[in-house]
Symmetry: D2
Subunit: 279 residues, 4 copies
């Protein structure tokens, strides 16, 4: 051990292994003691992200619009031995955003991570059919509330000396899903929001990145894959062999929030199973 200690001395960093007598490696939790807010995290991709952040050591505050969904998610994750609490939060409401921030600070003393996953259910028909009200709702929740939620957590991140934001967009930001125009457009806007926030917050030591999932098998996306024929045609159109799983979106989010991503900001990572995306 002494030798190992000597060899490692001074150079130990987050990603380095610490070898024990048994030669068993103990990896530190990459997000140990971090406090993470995840919106829309009681189901699907958001839940998988919340779970992963907690597994990686973070104290996670889950949230969504319905108390019963929050209760169920918190119970499930606590039952797995994870450090998770939750509260109802409709991200479109200023008081809800503020309450979420306040609760996290009260419980854990600060905020280090925000994962902004909240989005309006996407199935609204064509651009030529949607009403002004649909546009309002989608832009309000998907774009404006993402910006305002970030704005609400930034002062708390600054108190911690920095932080990390991950915005959940969609591969539809690049390659539109047919029949989901306003949803697709709002997701494209998030690519820009990511770049802009990253630039603006770099000086405060806050990194901002974006996850763009492909078609992931969740309740949220079920309209896209519900009947078998439709699933086949989507797979063919997207040139993917299978739909993704929520867990397959979670690792990259944890990574982007960790010290390992210290030089990555303003970027979008696509988790799309090889579907055509962008260069």
């Amino acid at each position: 051990m002494y030798k190992v200690g000597l060899l490692l001395g001074g150079r130990v960093r987050s990603w380095e292994s610490i070898r024990m007598a048994s030669n068993k490696v103990v990896r530190p939790d990459p997000l140990a003691n971090k406090v993470a807010l995840v919106t829309a995290s009681t189901d699907g991709i958001g839940l998988a992200i919340a779970r992963r952040l907690a597994q990686d050591g973070a104290h996670v505050v889950v949230s969504s619009r319905k108390q019963q969904n929050v209760d169920r998610a918190v119970a499930a994750l606590q039952g797995e031995g994870l450090s998770v609490t939750g509260t109802v939060c409709h991200v479109g409401k200023a008081e809800d955003r503020d309450r979420l921030v306040t609760m996290a600070v009260k419980l854990h003393g600060g905020i280090n991570i925000l994962v902004s996953n909240a989005a309006v259910n996407p199935f609204f028909g064509n651009l030529m059919d949607v009403t002004e009200e649909v546009w309002d709702k989608i832009l309000d929740i998907n774009v404006k509330a993402t910006a305002l939620m970030t704005k609400a957590v930034v002062p708390e991140m600054e108190k911690q000396g920095g932080g990390s934001v991950v915005i959940v967009a969609s591969i539809a930001a690049y390659t539109p899903f047919p029949g989901l125009g306003p949803y697709n457009v709002s997701k494209t806007a998030l690519l820009g929001l990511t770049k802009n926030l990253a630039t603006e917050l770099a000086g405060r030591n806050i990194r901002v990145n974006c996850l763009a999932p492909g078609i992931i098998k969740t309740n949220f996306s079920q309209v896209l894959w519900m009947d078998e024929a439709r699933e086949e045609s989507i797979k063919e159109a997207l040139r993917i062999r299978r739909l993704g799983k929520p867990e397959e979106c979670a690792g990259i989010v944890s990574f982007l929030c960790s010290e390992d991503a210290s030089y990555i900001t303003g970027e979008t990572v696509i988790v799309g199973g090889g579907a055509p995306s962008r260069l």
Copy 2:
């Protein structure tokens, strides 16, 4: 006139030369007999586009929010011998959008071209400072109204057997202008809106493309270049040698609306003087 009418009539395509006895080539106007709406077209880039469409043969309806600006632009363009009329139109108001469409139809029997240039004055400070109201206004006018203006003209284009839409975004959609977060984000959204509209309207023979100007010397952009030092620093940051002129944005719009662009839809063309943009 009659003979010219015959020569030009119907079968002649924009790129076909007609040789006369003198061996002089007579190019037909590429937009002859087309009816074009251009929003926010009483100044700057919009005005340059309106002028060019008219010079290229279109009947153009200009518009902006103030009657006196409309009057001035119409007088100027008519004074140049161009077929131009105008009306006040605040694109955020449904009744204004409808009135614009109705007027064009009444005057000219239909609509073939829409250039959507209307945008909120961009100088609103940082993302961390802007209020909910600023977001509302920018997303309303720059994104939602663009979609709704298009929706309003599509039925008239269908009656003509097709048409062409050009949306004016900005290079800031790709490379954010510092300090203009919400504006930049709204312009990124327009890249997505272009792709989505193109897909949705292809079946109706309506093409939808996008112009992304770099920094063009107009009243609109003067905050960016007003003092000389600032202009120099922008030119250095963008690696451009000079700012663009409004006229330099106009030719591409006319081109995209012409038969020459019959296989181009869903695309964005950057007029940025070589500023870093995208692959």
Copy 3:
């Protein structure tokens, strides 16, 4: 008519109409007196571009690897009354590139425009199958020769005070055509070459842009659409309703070479019929 003539008078600019005694509108040729080299221009897209540049006023030098193809193309275009000459040029050979340049200068006194369209026939199988020789050939002709051809014309453009280069890539640069790996990769490289040349040549008043055609119905692409079933499946995969025609690629090239594109450099325009491409 008289009034129109009067009204239009006085504002004549390079691209504006010039009225003659007969009151006929004469648009000046946008490329009048320009000298244009077009490689691989005796068939397909290259031929359509050569024809269009000539129709728009340029003196065009066509070329390709076989004398009989050059002869046929020159005869056809001259038969249309166009100012066209030609010579054999294998762009991979320095002496051929030099001969092409020398000939253009001798005939017309200088060079203003280069359209680099030469590419190896693309049908080479999968990346896992191709040999080193195939890679060599494709990178040599599609990438290196494009750079060297440009290098060969630049001194002549400088003598004219500037010029315009258009490189023909492919939508496959963004969205790979299945089974055409090395071809696709070489086309992606051309997007970068365009950006790099544009930056480097801006100071010499030479603009460099790129055309990325989708699937255009030519002999070159016939492997992609030869049998009807295959054509259908391509149309479905690319979400296009029809394949493009060579002429539909020609207008944009002429436009990019004209004064109307004076502030456009380093950009790629996709002519893809709405196929998924990029934001």
Copy 4:
């Protein structure tokens, strides 16, 4: 353990959580038992990647063109207790590529991971100056050899039921570094190569992704940052606050090679410190 605890004690950071006794979490090494080849890995980014893959559990074979560099890197990494061997490999030579593959298979029974980092030293002047030989060398090593190295390992990956390839490109693929034209172009080509390999190898359960580092402080890039004034001007032009460190490129590569990235293929991740890149 005690001593280790002591040694590490004072420096344990918030993200380190070593759980003891009952509450002990042991994270498995994400790359345990994987065999990884890393080319050009005896210095800079390649060395950092090799170290990280080994720290994350992989058996790593390092390589570069000079025996003494290989020896030094192997000694250093073995000295850190890592499972590392090495061999000379000039990736442009078929026999070297084959020898590397053979050695890895003989030592470790197969190959799971390839990180292709080899590239020609980038400092070759402008596109208008470089000779045909420079182009040949750069395209040979940076593009062709990357494809051929991948081709050489694929059969071994197939025997293992799949694998993961990471190609190291550069942010210069998107935003050219001034004066490095051919280098930049070759890196753009790698973005396409990544997409094409990903598509072609998906059916064999091999994922292919790409890392695009920004300006990382290494010997390789020192021409870019050598004198202080130049470093400042680069930082200003790229709008980054500091250059990156090789280690900051290593975590993402390990991540992309791990199971956590099971639904990520064909993608490029930029590690650029917030420099302008792409949407």
